[in-house]
């Protein structure tokens, strides 16, 4: 990595941290209480062109590294989980397109230029009612329509910020007669996809991601289909990228909960100088849990980068699928453990919502981690792979 690249990365992370501190943190409670989209923080991220941070410079983007992107997710996650998760999900779609640009129609290159110029926000519709939660299967299919256009109709049980996004990346079957697993990605622009909400989004946590279900009815040009087999895109990019960036958001949430615990014990120590602080000993145990979480999250990123740069083919092996599934499983289970540990260290002052030491929002937000792609489903996939993979 060159010094120039490091500087560019640092400037980007500093900018994202500033948005986190000055904007996301200020509105986080209201976003949570009202279950509303964190429009202030996302607008501020647009102001610093953070939505195109990962797009290569030659297309007008920021050209930052994945490490920098992950750090931005962590910093945002400390202040407002919903902002961080929206940002992470957007970057997963952007990075997926960037990583498969070599096999995509030229349309996608001009689209990325538009993302840079207009700071367009991309949502995704990868889940579908009727597939039993299997992202590797679709019912909706690319279907020829009128005037050379193609279309699809998809019932998506959750589309995060579906009503707020500009554009939508959806998995669909390649054609009406394709098998369920023969999928491609379609990118539809605002105005090309009619989004009819199904249900509401009044949840325990991650309330600002605004992720109700939608019926998506889309009509678009055939060149908007990234026809690289989705099975490959999923293994090489979408799934490991999701697990890497989500886990950084979760690490941010756990870090913030821990920081609240630290402020609490420091204040206790100041009140009675020289006396032992029992809560600090309890917090020390939580610190070791946080250290485990951080180690796995950082190693997951490093392993992904090593494969991406050296041997991208390896990401399709079962051993690699298991590795990045393990990152998701471990991080999603460890994050609420840290938050709950801090709750017990602080006690009632953490349980109260209107206390400066409250960790209620962090705990509630962190409980989404094991459900967004249910861990039980990932364990079921891993159970099959374990039978044949060797070096686990």
């Amino acid at each position: 990595m060159t010094t120039a690249l490091l500087e560019r990365d640092q400037a980007f992370v500093d900018g994202a941290s500033q948005v986190a501190d000055d904007v996301a943190a200020v509105h986080a409670e209201d976003v949570d209480r009202e279950a509303r989209f964190p429009i202030e923080a996302i607008s501020a991220l647009r102001e610093i062109s953070a939505l195109s941070a990962f797009v290569p410079e030659e297309l007008g983007g920021g050209g930052v590294s994945l490490e920098a992107l992950a750090l931005a997710c962590l910093e945002l996650g400390r202040r407002c989980s919903s902002t961080a998760m929206v940002y992470a999900m957007h970057q997963i779609q952007v990075a997926t397109i960037v990583r498969h640009l070599d096999t995509a129609p030229p349309w996608f290159e001009s689209y990325l230029r538009d993302v840079c110029a207009e700071q367009r926000l991309i949502a995704s519709a990868t889940s579908e009612i009727g597939t039993g939660g299997d992202m590797g299967r679709s019912i909706a299919a690319v279907t020829p329509g009128e005037g050379g256009l193609v279309g699809f109709e998809k019932q998506a049980p959750t589309v995060s910020y579906g009503a707020q996004a500009d554009d939508l990346l959806s998995t669909v079957r390649r054609s009406p007669d394709a098998e369920g697993g023969d999928q491609v990605l379609a990118l539809t622009l605002a105005g090309q996809a009619k989004m009819t909400p199904m249900g509401t989004w009044d949840t325990l946590g991650m309330r600002g991601t605004c992720s109700p279900g939608f019926v998506v009815s889309a009509q678009f040009a055939p060149e908007q289909v990234l026809d690289t087999p989705f099975a490959r895109v999923m293994c090489e990019s979408m799934v490991p990228l999701s697990h890497v960036l989500w886990s950084h958001v979760w690490l941010g949430i756990a870090t913030e909960a821990f920081e609240r615990g630290r402020r609490f014990v420091r204040e206790a120590a100041r009140r009675k100088p020289g006396e032992p602080v029992p809560a600090a000993a309890a917090l020390s145990r939580v610190m070791s849990e946080l250290a485990l979480l951080r180690a796995e999250v950082q190693l997951g990123l490093r392993d992904f980068l090593a494969d991406s740069e050296g041997n991208r083919e390896r990401l399709s092996t079962m051993a690699a699928i298991l590795r990045f599934n393990n990152l998701k499983l471990a991080a999603s289970e460890q994050t609420p453990r840290v938050c709950q540990g801090v709750l017990e260290v602080i006690g009632i002052m953490a349980y109260k919502n209107d206390s400066p030491f409250s960790v209620g929002r962090q705990l509630r937000d962190s409980l989404s981690a094991r459900l967004m792609v249910a861990n039980e489903r990932i364990h079921a996939v891993d159970a099959g792979l374990l039978l044949i993979a060797k070096g686990v």
């Binding site: 590797g136 697993g181 293994c235 399709s316 092996t317 044949i388 060797k390």
Partner: protein, 85 residues
């Protein structure tokens, strides 16, 4: 090895691939996943191939693209055979 190997691969696919179509209606280069083999079924195919040919696929071979056609599987078996020789 070619003809018998391919016949044995087809037998394994017929017994474990859970394909919605007859394996013999597909040619050697046809994409088995596009023909409807699921990821789950493909694990069963891999296990049965290891048994049938008394081999172990190393991790680097355990990916979808290696098992997506009769030709792909035959190439993987050939590679393992030449490594063993």
């Amino acid at each position: 090895m070619s003809a018998t190997t391919r016949a044995e691969i087809r037998r394994v696919l017929r017994d474990h691939g859970r394909l919605p179509v007859d394996v013999d209606s597909l040619d050697d280069g046809a994409d088995l996943f596009q023909a409807g083999m699921t990821s789950h079924a493909s694990v069963g195919v891999m296990l049965a191939l290891e048994d049938a040919f008394d081999i172990e696929f190393p991790d680097r071979m355990l990916k979808r693209s290696v098992f997506e056609s009769v030709d792909g599987i035959a190439a993987a078996l050939r590679e393992l055979d030449s490594l063993a020789a």
